[in-house]
């Protein structure tokens, strides 16, 4: 059976955390509910699942790519356009250092940005159930449940202190 979203809106973090506890007690897997806020809360504030990520790999990969590109670009340019200057070597390291450093840092940063978006699952072309009141300070508890569980979940969220519950099928109410 396909799962459907239901969103409970809470005025305080305490009530949202209570809703999380109630969902857990009701046997809803932690991967099936999420907390939506308009600002970062301390980790674990809602008793939410731990989020693992691999963001730290991205800058290292980017730096390696940039280092390689930087070395190749500067070395190959010097070799391709040899300019004799007072007996100095055609392939000279000092002029390569700065450009290589900058290309290393640039690609490390670009890869980090890609990593942030990738790990944040952005861009999300299909936005799930959402309510604009979340960016007014309300805390959303977004639950994905089987269709037959929508009404019990709505009751659960309301009992936990939701001021409103929004459903994909248009149903709403606390």
């Amino acid at each position: 059976m396909a799962k459907l979203p239901i969103l409970g809106l809470f005025e305080s973090a305490d009530h949202a955390a209570d809703a999380g506890d109630a969902l857990k007690a009701a046997g809803v897997p932690m991967t099936d509910y999420d907390f939506l806020t308009d600002a970062p809360y301390p980790e674990g504030a809602f008793g939410e699942r731990e989020e693992n990520h691999r963001l730290y790999i991205f800058p290292f990969v980017g730096a390696l790519v940039g280092l390689t590109v930087g070395i190749m670009l500067t070395a190959m340019t010097q070799m391709a356009y040899p300019l004799a200057q007072g007996g100095k070597p055609i392939l000279s390291m000092p002029p390569m250092a700065v450009v290589t450093y900058e290309s290393t840092m640039l690609t490390a940063i670009v890869f980090t940005i890609i990593g942030i978006l990738f790990e944040s699952r952005l861009p999300a072309f299909k936005q799930g159930l959402y309510d604009t009141r979340i960016t007014e300070g309300y805390i959303g508890v977004l639950v994905n449940v089987d269709e037959d569980q929508l009404t019990p979940t709505q009751t659960l969220l309301t009992q936990a202190g939701a001021i409103d519950v929004v459903r994909k099928d248009g149903g709403s109410g606390a």
Binding site: D34, V99, L106
Partner: protein, 463 residues
């Protein structure tokens, strides 16, 4: 450090999105006025390109003047943003919250403005395109058998500045995603669609926030070394110039970096005071923030002053003819000696004297005066490094001369100030200059603790 009153999310949205959702009446008038100044400056640049450098005060041997001074100045201002944002993020300073976004955006626009200066200074800006490409894979000048030196330190400069510019733009855009989501939820029609695209489907779940917080710290750590490299490399534009021996100073790189931070942080403090005044953001940009910036500036200014003194002492100590000639020009020849005195006075003694007083640090008019004073001084500093060095260089020259900027140069330089102001105001019209989520996070983490008989404001801080 927690002097403000508690704020709700609704109030934060309403007050900080005021610039976007309800544009003030003066906005279009001001933008038009600034736009006209920019157009006037572009016209002056057009005359210069059409007539040649004869309309400027540039001459042999003073081939770098107002344009390159202004280039170094704006690069210096750009250092405020990322330095302030990165160091305060990394150190988790609570008072960073209202300052970071405006500082980062100031970085982007001052860098863009800085890059126009060398282009104008080339005299034939379109030729810079030829450096890169005309035919596929064949840089133009090589194809014509001209063979410019690709190993020159001047190549380092654009590579560093474009790295810094690209990084800063990406840094700002990533930090703006959650705020674009707030705007998406508060707009309709085409604006809603555009902000929706920019928000990229942001919902604000714990994973996205975790990544956003890590992004701020990680990108800060990555951009800091770039920021240090940029002004070091700008100093090497001078330090590596063969023919001007008085620029061959080993402390130029740190001296330039600290000077850039000094002028940049002063500029950010001034911008914050202006924003507070113009948009009525008294709840966000508070006296405590300006006070903290001023105390930071005392340290930065003193570090800069140390490098200035060392640069002069080392210059004299070698007793080389080039150096003595330049110092003689700076300290003994009028009006250059008067400019030197003004420069040191307005860059160090006047502002630091002000910043040592707590009441002066909390008086926004006096703080504005101090910040403007620093930036006038720092502009003069670059001018007094560049022009006397060239006016009295000994190697590869046949003449000593002086420099008097022409009206064309004054207009172009004035136009850059109008351009940065105009761009900042335009951005304030489409994106919040104070990060909403950062302020909201500060409100979430705000608390009070009782110590003995007093209750003091406190902030919870995560590792």
């Amino acid at each position: 450090m927690q002097e403000g009153k508690p704020l709700s999310s609704k109030q934060i949205n309403r007050e900080l999105l005021l610039t976007i959702l309800n544009s003030p009446k003066w906005f279009f008038t001001t933008i038009s006025l600034l736009g006209m100044i920019v157009l006037f400056a572009m016209g002056a640049a057009g005359i210069m390109i059409n007539q040649g450098f004869g309309v400027t005060g540039l001459n042999r041997p003073v081939m770098w003047g107002f344009f390159i001074t202004n280039f170094v100045f704006w690069i210096g201002i750009s250092h405020a943003g990322v330095m302030l944002s990165a160091i305060l993020r990394l150190s988790k300073a609570e008072w960073r919250r209202p300052a970071t976004r405006a500082a980062e955006i100031l970085t982007v626009f001052s860098l863009m403005t800085a890059m126009t200066m060398p282009l104008i200074h080339t005299g034939r800006p379109w030729r810079t395109v030829y450096w890169i490409y005309t035919l596929p894979f064949v840089p133009y000048d090589y194809a014509r058998g001209i063979w410019p030196n690709i190993r020159t330190p001047l190549v380092w400069d654009p590579s560093a500045v474009y790295t810094y510019l690209t990084s800063s733009i990406l840094f700002v855009l990533v930090a703006l995603i959650p705020d674009f989501a707030v705007l998406r939820d508060r707009t309709t029609g085409i604006s809603h669609r555009i902000y929706g695209m920019l928000a990229m489907g942001w919902q604000g779940n714990p994973r996205q926030w975790k990544l956003q917080v890590i992004a701020g710290v990680l990108l800060s750590a990555l951009i800091l070394p770039v920021f240090v490299s940029v002004h070091s490399i700008v100093s090497w534009d001078f330090g590596m110039a063969v023919s001007v021996k008085s620029w061959h100073s080993t402390i130029f790189a740190p001296y330039f970096v600290v000077g850039a931070v000094h002028s940049g942080v002063s500029a950010v403090a001034f911008v914050l005071i202006l924003l507070r005044y113009v948009y009525g953001w008294q709840n966000y940009i508070r006296h405590e923030h300006i006070d903290a910036l001023a105390r930071l500036l005392v340290v930065v200014a003193t570090g800069w002053f140390y490098f200035l003194v060392m640069e002069i002492v080392f210059g004299f100590y070698g007793r080389e003819a080039d150096e003595i000639a330049v110092r003689n020009f700076q300290f003994m020849v009028t009006p250059w000696n008067i400019w030197m005195m003004i420069f040191v006075g307005v860059t160090y003694f006047l502002p630091v004297g002000i910043w040592l007083s707590r009441s002066a640090r909390r008086n926004l008019w006096i703080m504005s005066l101090a910040c403007i004073s620093v930036n006038i001084g720092m502009w003069l500093e670059r001018f007094l490094i560049i022009v006397p060095g060239l006016a009295r260089k000994q190697l590869l020259t046949f003449d000593w001369y002086t420099y008097r900027p022409s009206p064309i140069e004054w207009i172009i330089v004035g136009g850059t100030f109008a351009m940065v102001t105009m761009l900042m105001l335009i951005v304030a019209r489409v994106a919040p200059l104070i990060p909403l989520y950062d302020i909201k996070e500060g409100e979430i983490l705000r608390t009070e603790i009782k110590i003995g008989r007093v209750t003091v404001p406190a902030v919870y801080r995560e590792d």
